[in-house]
Amino acid sequence: MIRFYITLVAFAVSCAMSRDSDTVVPKVASVVFSDADNYCFIGSLDVAGQTVAEMTNVFFSWTAVTQDVYGNAIGGADSIYRAEILNFVDLGWQEVLDGIQAGTFLQSDVDVFAYCTPQDTSCYLDDFVLGAGHPLTLSENFVQGSGTWLLRLDTRDSPEAVAELFLVPSAKSSETMAIVSNASSVFNVESEIKSVSFSSQSDLIFDWSALSVDGAGQSWEPSDADRIVLGRFDNGADGLGMRPYFFSSLADASWSADLSSETSIHLSDLSNAYDQAPDFISASSTWALALFSGITDPNWPRFLVVLKPK
């Protein structure tokens, strides 16, 4: 199989800029964060491509897909309930990945959007239908030089595709099968999480009003934050750096609050699923704090820091 790889540097930021990552905050009620406290993050999505015969009812199989692009196990290949094919006539691979990653594509930007509801772990190209249940003989449009074709697989557990594969229709190819595997799409992450130390007490106020750059190096308004989450990580927060996307699910316990335009919050205003506020931030566990903004991506922390109570 001829494979192509493309690397998307989704968020590039220099991790070199940093103040002392173990800043000691005086024993005051407020913990005031600065940009130098924020984590830095570099992510790249590698998506493979496969050349297949044009104008052919290609067979797609994803039996071998056991994890998502972040390396998290999915509930078996049969948990993939929908496959999508997107065709962008005028866009290249990188432009397509950029748009998908940024979440900026509209349905009207796509020249063909078709989906298949598989009975098992496969679909034929001509199984795909347009909206309103309209059948489509997609193989007739699947010709060499017809732009970028992207196959995406969805589970109900994730808002993002768990696996992706570029398809390259070719007049010279006789390949009638495309196999999606764990290696077809991989999201590579490098990040560095910094920490802030402070005196443990129960009447803390977290203040992020001075922030201006998010973890991906993009400027943002701290008042854009619409959710704050405090997480307790009983076995340390080492895994968080590779998977900041899963902040809440990685935490052993979490407390959160929805924000409108606030730029500070009292610890007691956070609550868990039982509507209970944290008593205090003990030094016996690792704690991390994250700010999210649904304007960009509700699951990517714009700000992330490990808290070190003393």
Binding site: E84, I100, Q107, G131, A132, G133, H134, P135, R156
Partner: protein
């Protein structure tokens, strides 16, 4: 008693309001009498019921001219049920029999009203519609009793989140001054299920119901304006197709079986429906039997009785030298989809149906009583001679009669190289000629291949629904796009329709 800041008491104005109400009542009675006598809607315009304005009971500054008298209103209560968390139900009892309504809206500008009650009563109930989810609002009850116009204190409340996996729609273009405004209803495919939904002019969802169906193509407001209707065309088993009625408060859901329905339906009278249905004829040829899929117009009366109004096989014959596409006929995917009738409208003033037949490139008018095909425009053997450079009708997908002709939506046709567009086809019934006199397409060639429709709006604008492109456009007659809503990638629409008010 001190007047609240929002109000301005003007006795002269109050008196005028009373006289105005009497005048409106007289006009209403006269109009009703004329309609009963058979004089309704002589213009030949579309028979959609007129909408009402949102805020005709407020003064220029949005204030309510009434005297605050909270004691007049007992047991005032507002309820929001989680099944439709953007609709509030207000109940109250007035100290004496009165005709009341509720003024509501954002706390700083209550610009909407529920309809005036027509019959004085003690116990009252009003639905507050058109509310965005998860938003703070205010409301106030206004009562008209014997010589007194009272209102309750202003109270605030917040709507909840709608119980449906809705996407964030993007309001791409919004020229508020030139847009017709109102509420747009359509089905939207979200992952596995269609959601029947209504959005406001900001592109925000104000009503949504998860149909749990994989094929809902049409959503309409019921004729009594108390419910949303949608067709569950059930792609896996068309024999189990249903028309569903969901009350606007989301609490009552009823289902009416309508076997073999496809694409589109219309409510003809309260609780009575007409829809397109599949019909398959087997033709014997030298090469063997061929199953050809065509269409019918079926009616289902409110009492449950049904009848076939019209059958395409009675009026047209498939060309058996041609092979027609398969798969599209859900009743039998192996049958050849010959005609593909795809939209229906009932024009009450003419007691006639209008349909589009996509693969025959036709729009046709059918007498409801007799089932007679009155005329067709477009395609082979059109009853109208085409004038102009462009041939009339190409892949039509909706038709509505308007003064002087038809408003039609045409799908993208890759083979013909034509883009999806809304068109006005002017018809001359003396010379029997047809001419395309207005065309709206998007700035780039819209490749909407499936579904879509064109709607006339109250201010003369028109709304183009590009269904599988997930795009709604409102254009002026001079082709300026003044409103556009887009869905994010992965979401597609069915047909759409616009109402100035949900009341």
């Amino acid at each position: 008693m001190a007047l609240p800041k929002l109000f301005s008491l003007n006795p002269q104005r109050l008196l005028m309001t009373h006289y105005l109400k009497i005048l409106i009542l007289v006009v209403f009675v006269l109009f009703a009498a004329l309609t009963i006598a058979g004089c309704g809607n002589p213009s030949g315009e579309t028979g959609k019921p007129p909408d009402t304005n949102d805020s005709d009971e407020t003064d220029d500054s949005g204030n309510v001219p009434c005297v605050e008298n909270p004691d007049f209103f007992q047991d005032l209560n507002l309820l929001i049920d989680e099944r439709m968390a953007s609709v509030a139900t207000v109940t109250w009892a007035s100290a004496e029999a009165s005709t009341d309504h509720v003024v509501f809206g954002f706390p700083d500008s209550m610009s909407m009203t529920s309809p005036d009650e027509l019959v004085p009563s003690i116990n009252h109930q009003a639905l507050l519609l058109g509310l965005k989810q998860g938003t703070e609002y205010a409301y106030q009850v206004v009562s008209y009793s014997s010589g007194n116009d009272y209102c309750s204190a202003v109270q605030t409340f917040s709507t909840g989140r709608l119980d449906a996996a809705l996407p964030e729609l993007i309001l791409s273009i919004s020229d508020v001054a030139r847009s017709a405004g109102g509420y747009t209803m359509f089905s939207i495919l979200c992952d596995e299920n269609y959601i029947a939904s209504i959005i406001d002019n900001d592109g925000n969802f104000v009503w949504a119901y998860d149909t749990q169906s994989d094929l809902v193509q049409r959503v309409r407001l019921s004729l009594d304006r108390k419910a949303v209707l949608y067709n569950n065309n059930n792609s896996a088993d068309v024999g189990n197709a249903t028309i569903n009625r969901v009350s606007l408060d989301g609490l009552e859901v009823t289902q009416t079986s309508f076997p073999n329905m496809h694409h589109d339906f219309v409510e003809t009278e309260n609780g009575a429906y007409a829809a397109l249905g599949w019909d398959i004829y087997t033709f014997t040829t030298e090469d063997g039997d061929r199953d050809i899929c065509g269409d019918m117009i079926l009616e289902l009366a409110a009492d449950g009785s049904s009848r076939e109004v019209w059958n395409i096989f009675d009026w047209f014959e498939p060309d058996l030298t041609e092979n027609y596409v398969d798969e599209n006929c859900l009743k039998n995917p192996d049958a050849e989809d010959w005609s593909h009738t795809n939209s229906i409208w009932y024009e009450a003033s003419e007691n006639a149906y209008y349909i589009t037949i996509r693969y025959l490139d036709k729009a046709c008018k059918i007498d409801r009583s007799t089932g007679q095909l009155l005329w067709c425009v477009g395609g082979i053997d059109s009853d109208f001679t085409s004038i102009g450079e462009k041939s009339i009708l190409n892949e039509p997908h909706s038709v509505l009669p308007v003064d002087g002709g038809l408003l039609i939506y045409e799908n993208y046709d890759e083979l013909a190289g034509s883009c999806a567009a809304g068109v006005m086809v002017s018809l001359d019934f003396e010379s029997w000629t047809a001419q395309e006199t207005w065309t709206y397409g998007t700035e780039t060639c819209a490749k909407n291949m499936v579904f879509g429709n064109l709607e006339p709006l109250v201010n003369g604008n028109r709304m183009l629904v590009l269904s599988v492109m997930g795009q709604l456009d409102e254009t002026t007659l001079d082709l300026e796009t003044v409103w556009r809503v887009n869905a994010p990638v992965g979401y597609t629409f069915g047909f759409g329709e616009r109402h100035e008010s949900l009341y």
